[in-house]
Every structure is written in C-alpha cells, then in structure tokens.
Symmetry: C2
Subunit: 484 residues, 2 copies
Amino acid sequence: MTDQRIPPSLQHLIIEHDKVVKHIPKFGVVAFGGMAGVALAKEVPAAISRSGRDFNLTVLTGGTTTSVFEEGLSSIRVARRYPAVSGSLSRDMANRETISVADYWLSEYSRWIRFGVIPHVKKIDVAVVESTGVDENGIIPSLSVDAVPAMVDAADKVVLEVNLSKPVMYGLHDIYLPKDSEPVPIRNVLDRVGEPVVRCPSNKLAAIIVTDKPESGAGGYGAVSPVELKIAGHITEVLSAAVGEKSLTRFYTLQPGAGPLASALLDRIDFSGLRVWSEAVSVDWVHHVGGKVSAISSSCIYVLRGQEKLLEMVYSELSSLKDSVVLRPYEITNRAEMISRMSLISIQQAIEVDIYGNANITHIGGNIHNGVGGSGDFTRNAYLTVLALPSTTSNGKLSRIVPICSHVDIPEHDVDFLVTENGWADLRGLSPRERARVIIDNCVHDRFRDMLAEYFEKACDVGGHEPVSWKHAVQFREMMELAS
Amino acid sequence: MTDQRIPPSLQHLIIEHDKVVKHIPKFGVVAFGGMAGVALAKEVPAAISRSGRDFNLTVLTGGTTTSVFEEGLSSIRVARRYPAVSGSLSRDMANRETISVADYWLSEYSRWIRFGVIPHVKKIDVAVVESTGVDENGIIPSLSVDAVPAMVDAADKVVLEVNLSKPVMYGLHDIYLPKDSEPVPIRNVLDRVGEPVVRCPSNKLAAIIVTDKPESGAGGYGAVSPVELKIAGHITEVLSAAVGEKSLTRFYTLQPGAGPLASALLDRIDFSGLRVWSEAVSVDWVHHVGGKVSAISSSCIYVLRGQEKLLEMVYSELSSLKDSVVLRPYEITNRAEMISRMSLISIQQAIEVDIYGNANITHIGGNIHNGVGGSGDFTRNAYLTVLALPSTTSNGKLSRIVPICSHVDIPEHDVDFLVTENGWADLRGLSPRERARVIIDNCVHDRFRDMLAEYFEKACDVGGHEPVSWKHAVQFREMMELAS
C-alpha cells in the first residue's frame, strides 16, 4: 500500500514510529502542520512522549490541535508555543505561565515563520507534516495546508507521516506563496496558480512514518443548538439586507464562521451557489458543493465529532470535488490582498462584545481561552464583518454583551453587523452611542436589557463620544455574577 | 490667470464665492476633499456660513481639516460627520453627542463612499474639491488625493475650488481605483498605473470658484521637542535591529508617522535612499527627496506651521519632483494589498498603551480626541509595526503606559516594537507577561516604573495569560491623577 504513496527512491526513509525520536532535538524548535484538529501528526507526539527523554522545545502548530495530540506533548517540557493555545492542557499552562504563548493573526504567523521574524524561531529544526503521499517533487498534503509550506521552507529537517486512512489527495491543493513585490495572480475562488505539492528538497526529508490512524474530529464544539439556529437565521436576514441574495452569490464570497454555527448557517440558507473563501470549512459545507455551495477555497477541511461519515463521502468523491474545492496555504487564504479582492462577507464569533461593538474573542478575564486565529485577517479586510454570538453564556446567567470587554481583539471599527439569537443590529455609519442603543434594543437578552440600558445611561452621565464608566462596569459584572 | 487652469469650454461655470450656496442642499450630504489640513475648500465653508441659511447636513471630509475650515462650518447644523472629528469644535460636539460621528479606517471609508455602503451616505449630493486646474478629462488635484475620486464618483454634483496660490500640479498624481477581482498592478513605490486627473463627467461639474488663499498649515502640532528627538533616535535603533540599514532601503518601505515625530525621525536618520509609502507625508520629507529619501508614495503632502517656505520650494521644484513623488487615492495608499506588497515598516503613534501592547489612539476616557485615520490599515498589514509615543503626558504627570487602556484601537497582536524616549522593546514572539516586563523595564518613565511593576505584580496574583486587575487599574489611575 505504501508503494503507491512513497516512490522507491524514498522508501529507505521509512522508519518505525519510535525511531523518530532521534530526529527531534532535545532543545530546539519543532513544528507540526495541521489545523482545526485535522492533518496533525498522529504518531510523532506519542512517540516523543513514550521515549521518556528530556526535551525542552519550542512547539509550533498550524493552528488548533486535538486532545490526543496535546496529551502526546504533555509529558515533555514545552517552553514556548505558537500560535496561541489549543485545548485545556496548554490553556492552563499558558494561564499559569508555565509556557510562553504569543498569539498572532495566522497570515502574519505563516509569513513570519518563513522569514524567521520571531526572534525565538529564526529557523525550525524539524517540521512534522502529515501527508497523503510524497513524490520526487514534494509532499502531497492531507486535509490542511495551513502553514506547512512555510514550515517546510524554514525547516532543517522534515519528518513525514504518510496517513493511509485517507486517499491520496493529489490535485486538491494549490501551493503558491506570495512573491516579493508581485500581486498574487488569483482572481477567482477556484483559480489555481501554484503546484499540487509542497516542494521539499530531498535532502531535507529525514524520515517517513506510516500510519493508518483516522481523524478523530475537532474537539471543543457541541452539537448545533436552537440558539445557533436562531443566530444563523438572523445572519441570513443580515445577508439579504446588506447585499441581497442575488448579489451575494454573484459578487461576494462568504466566510461562514466555525463549528456548530457554520453548520446551523448551512441549514438556514435556502438558496444555492454560495462561494466560500475561508481559512477552514467543515466537511458538511464541502458536502453541499453543487447545491447551496458552488465553490470553496480554504486552508483546511475539518470534521466535527459525528461527521465521520461525511468525511468518508468526501474522500470517495475526491476526484470530482477537485473541480469545486481548493485547499491553499494561510499565506493565500488569509492574505489581506486576497480577502479584499474576494469582496468577502466574514462571519466572526466572539466570547463577548461591548455595547459599542468592540469584541473579545480570546480571553475570559485575564485567562486565555483560545487564540485569535485568522480572525483579524478577515474582519479588517472583509467587505463586511458580521459578529455573531449567543447573547448569554453559563446557562443564560451571564450576558455576553457587556459594558466593557475584559480584552479587545476586534475593535468596533471592524464590526458592521452584530447578531445574536434575539436579533441583529446594523452598525454601519452609526456613532458609538447610536450603536449602543440599537445593540441594547435588538441584540441583548431580555434578562439583561434593563441592566445594560441603566449602565449606558450612567456612562452617558459621565459623558463623551463613547461613554465609559469603569465603576459602573465593575458593578455590572459583580451584579451579573452575584445573580448567577 | 484662470485661462491656463480652466479651459474656455468650462469658463462659464465660474461663479462668485457667495453664489455657491445655491448648489448646497439644505438637507443632504456634502463632501469636502482634502486631508491633514491641506487641499481643503478655502471658500465654500465660509460662503455657507455667511449665507445665514438653515442647513442640516451630513458632512464628509477626506480627513482632518483646519480651524478655518471648522469655523466656516460651525454656524450651520451638521447632523453627521465622517470620518471622525477634526479639531476642538467638532470634537466637543461629538463628545456631547450634538453631532453623530462614526470613525472608519480610511481605506474602508473611501471604498464605502464609492459603493454607497453607509446607510446615511448612499450618495453624495455635492462634492467640493480643491484643484489646481481642470480640463475636459477631469480635475487636476491639489496637495491631496485622499477620498476625492470616490467622492466625485458618488456625487450628483461637483463644485471645484481652483486654487491659484499653487502651481498647476498636473502629473504629480496617479489616479487609479481598484477593479473588481483584479490585482492592483503596482509593484514599486513610484509605479504609475492610472491617470493624471480625477475623471469627472462634465454634467456633474456644477460650478467653479476661483481662490488664491494659500494653505494655512495643519493645526494641532507643536514644534519638534527633545523628547521626540529621543524617540526618533530609538526608532532608528529599532530599524537597524529589526532589518538593518542596507535591507531597509533595499527591501522595505517606511511609513514615517506624522507631525513633529516624523520631522524628528528625518533629523535622526543618517543614511540615504529611504522609500516611503504612506497616507500623508510632511513637506520636509518631500524636501529630502534625492538625499535621505529616494521615493515617496502618499495620498497627501501636508505642511506644519513654519514650513510654508519649504512648501514654496516644493512648488518650484514640482517638475523634477514628479519623478520621485506620487500622490494616490486612499484606495491605493491604504489598501491592504499594497501595504503588504510594499513590505512596509509602519511608525504608529498613540495616546496610551497598556503594559501588554494594546494601544488607544483615539480616546481620552470616553472622549474622542481624534479619529483612527488609516492607522489600522497600516498596522495590520505592515511587515512590522513600531508603536512610538512619549512615556508621559501633562508635563510628565501622567504615564501614557497604563495598566488598562480606556479604549483599544490597535490590539497587541499588531504591535511589534514599542518605543518611548526612555528606550524600546522588541515584543515579537513574547507572551503578554514577557511583554509587560520588557515594556516596564525599557519604556516606562522612571517616575512610574515602580507603580506599574507593582500593578503588574498584583495583576499576576489574580493570574492568567494576560493578567488584569480592574480594581488595581482604577487605583493606578486615581493615584496618578492625585499625584498630578
């Protein structure tokens, strides 16, 4: 079976799983491709863990990982992680500062890897990459391209995990990295301008591991809830109001958000021919190609728990899907140039948002919950940004719309519409006070509307263009937490 | 004199200043070109004011204006202003909400004008544009292009102010607006891909006013101070450390900041051949073309008080300057696509910054001080962003580096270096706590170092990846204000 995936000239690089450890430096930088829980190395983290050796590593990943991956890493010392955290283990370590984590927009992250901009990551010692095959020209990627081309480029050595649980995905990917001073020559969602493989000089290729472990599904997401279906319904209203259905499919592209909300949106959309430009799409969106969806450009296809059968169907339809789906590196999917050229409407989720539209997408108090991902690449450069979130959390006991966010990642200037399960607000062209009124009226949960209106009134007593009263904001939080 | 500026076929449109009022709707949208205090209409605002008529207008400007301009507008009712405020009159009105102000990044602002995205500005009734001449093809701009092409495009009527105090600036400008789904074909700072004039169908041209009023200089800026010279010195150290002098002039472009800091930086740079890509450059930078500066692309050339003689010299050298200076619309200078292609190093100023690198560039408490301008276009898409500010304000009584900003426009993820007169901090790749330590050590003023270190310690007691303690942050502000 490996004969079809690995040419004879490279078969000598195949090693047993545990032997990979000799390629991992005790002190150095190790990068793992993969994002949104897919296309991660399935064997190397566990092998490192089993080795019992002392390591002190800087670890890069393409994006969020899986709990299996994190457990593999948890037994060794990791001093630094980029980008951000993934899952409760690394989250807790970052919050206790037993690990140093710096969080970057994914477009910058990938470019910085390639050019060695981060002082602690001048180069990568080993890049560990899942692939569905390899030939003399390079690596055939798996379900995600993410930062893999940058990692391979910056790496001294590359270790491949050839995964037999997937078909050879040759032809699904378009590997092109921006050139100095040159426009990216992509004009349409499906344009292919690069190569089907990630170039990798054969002298970099240090070892090949063969595995048949399937994807285990992205963690951290629940099933689609009635709240998400309501939010999704309101998003379709926003799309109609902002650009209209006909224009939407003709002139614009959509980034559909992530997790159950993206699935709910797919359910609520009742027209066909959407073009998607995103950094990640779930397998159910891919499954609707030819119907609700006409074209997808993404960096990865991820799978939620329970979607394993859909993934199998995607595998079996791969040869025809290549005409409607392209997987690209972050440096294309998240590139400002491309996002603005694609006239993109971005659906962005958040942990909390203030009454003026400033959003916190990463922290709960001082604790990091997740990284920014590519959110800022999209929200800043999209044609329109729709911020969507449930109006409450903790079983309705806490309002996600608050007087002041404990952290701001997406400033008000980037948020055009706010959507909750209660309704939506068109914020375009409104002053901060006007925004506060329409957000409180349309989006806040009934239970908190009076409280927030009262806060806003007190803040207005203080005065200003965007009135704030820290004293009353603290009181609001205390009241909310007391009541919960 | 007007014969050289206005062709015979358009001479019949010339009217007396006060007659312009009949072209201004009593209730509607009026746009004025010009930014950073230059290329504004010199006669129309005063004529509107003198008319004594009732107006209720939505007013758009290209950017910041002058006190003369604002005084002209102050006697009529303006319900809405875009983008942001300019000067103390409109600032006070925005802070009392007697005017509605929404603040947008300039790239989005211009695009939104053109496509009628802002619900209150579906179209423009009259665009009032300063020009240095007009011909059958269109308008020859003045010292600024800013949003003029978008305003003219979206306007029912155009009123020109042909300004005789300046030479005919034909050939200085490159008017090109991005086309749907197409890359912008500019590869180098000085590439010209458009036309020398702003196209304006002759049936839109409603009236021409002739004036000889010179520029009065941008307000709100003081002279270069020793603090700014120190900051500028540290910026040159950052440039050397981050990319090196040779690479800087060869591979990168610079956005040099604004006002006295930009002038100070020019003073402190001791090498030649810098390429500048910016939305605004001061006339002293233009004056150094051929020496420290080799090429400039900007949306405007502005002039600080005291630089009037430099401006005269620029006027007299215009024919040769055209080879090294190009003025472009915001939709090019501030376009993400161009900023990322230009490998730009952006010098960004701020009102305050927190110990983690989140910056407030617009508000003092809830009061707006100025708009965001194009800051976020540059900081998000630049290769590197250097945030530079004096460590204190109010004669040293208040620290500009604070526990928590009262408003965040530029999130930490966009700030790569922090510079004050005390020193600089390389924030790349550092966790929030690591950033706090190096900022407190290197950038904070001696007077506040212990106070901030103490705050940081207390916040760390609370814990978290990016520790915050609102209680102690409020105490810090109170202590600081008490001491001052």
